[in-house]
Symmetry: C2
Subunit: 195 residues, 2 copies
């Protein structure tokens, strides 16, 4: 579990890398400039690598009891590839997510890559199963793409546990565009490991 | 379409950002050091942003005729969040992918996030449809997780177009671990836009 100040520093660092990543996919800098920046990045990587954790699972528990893995590629404030999606649990167990995706996540021109929508929904439905007391591994995931998901605008997602049977749990969810239209629907089945 | 030297410079830059990203999720550097590195990153981002392209779709056509979007979040050599997955088409239209995923892509401890497997397979099956002459948007994607996909080892993926009906095309694929065992299977349906 991470302390506040160190967590904030790591989250700030990851946010700088997100901005850098977006600059990389859009830069029209000259070749020499790109090479100069590359060399400086290598030396910053070396500085960060001077002290390394083997464990990448820094966890912060939020007031609602939801565990956040800070290194998660979906919700992790400390993982530069995570948008990150802000996820929280409502009192009835519904999980809500809020996020905006830059050109870094582009599939078809100006739209979110379909696999990125799958990534967000897999994570959100997994959290719905976990918050419902049935944490598990994804066994099946079905996605139905209803319309393109736009880049650069505030998106929401929601999901909930629908039923459990023994160690198997089903959850449903979707992504919505800023007009409240469903862009992608998902159903997942999770299997809770025997402990 | 990108020229060789500029493409190589951008790919090198993205690779430096990938190494940086991995260092971020593992660093145990002191808070002051993290803040110093963050400040330097902000100034490098500013240098890259001095000249920007509005178009993020730099495309390279490989000898087999497969278009590679260099900014793709899956296969793009110039996109720092892409592993990147190396994908190529065989003579019979089968698409093969080769990749290794670092802790940046972690879901369950020491395994690949299920949504990252979905991202790779969505892209690979989309390429199978495109190479088969039916490029389209994903309409449905079904994933069956057979066993956990390990981090840090060479993975392969394969997929092929199975049938077409009007503007609809189906494709099947899977991810294999280094022992050749299937970890995730996928079936997708794509719809080719009317032009």
């Amino acid at each position: 579990v991470l302390e506040g100040a160190q967590g904030a520093a790591l989250a700030g660092l990851a946010e700088r890398v997100r901005e850098l990543t977006e600059a990389v996919v859009r830069t029209a800098a000259a070749e020499e400039e790109i090479e100069a920046v590359s060399a400086q990045l290598a030396s910053l990587t070396e500085r960060l690598s001077a002290a390394r954790r083997e464990n990448t699972r820094l966890v912060r528990i939020d007031p609602g009891g939801v565990p956040h893995v800070l290194g998660s590629p979906v919700t992790g404030a400390a993982n530069p590839i995570a948008p990150p999606v802000e996820m929280y649990a409502e009192a009835d167990g519904t999980i809500r997510g809020e996020f905006t995706l830059s050109a870094v996540y582009e599939g078809p021109p100006s739209y979110v890559h379909g696999g990125i929508s799958a990534l967000v929904l897999d994570h959100l439905l997994g959290m719905a199963a976990a918050v419902g007391g049935m944490p598990g591994m994804t066994a099946t995931l079905e996605l139905r793409y209803r319309r393109p998901t736009p880049l650069g605008v505030p998106l929401t997602a929601e999901g909930r546990l629908t039923r459990s049977e023994g160690r198997r749990t089903w959850a449903d969810g979707r992504i919505l565009d800023p007009d409240g239209r469903t862009t992608v629907e998902a159903t997942a089945m999770f299997v809770t490991p025997r402990t």
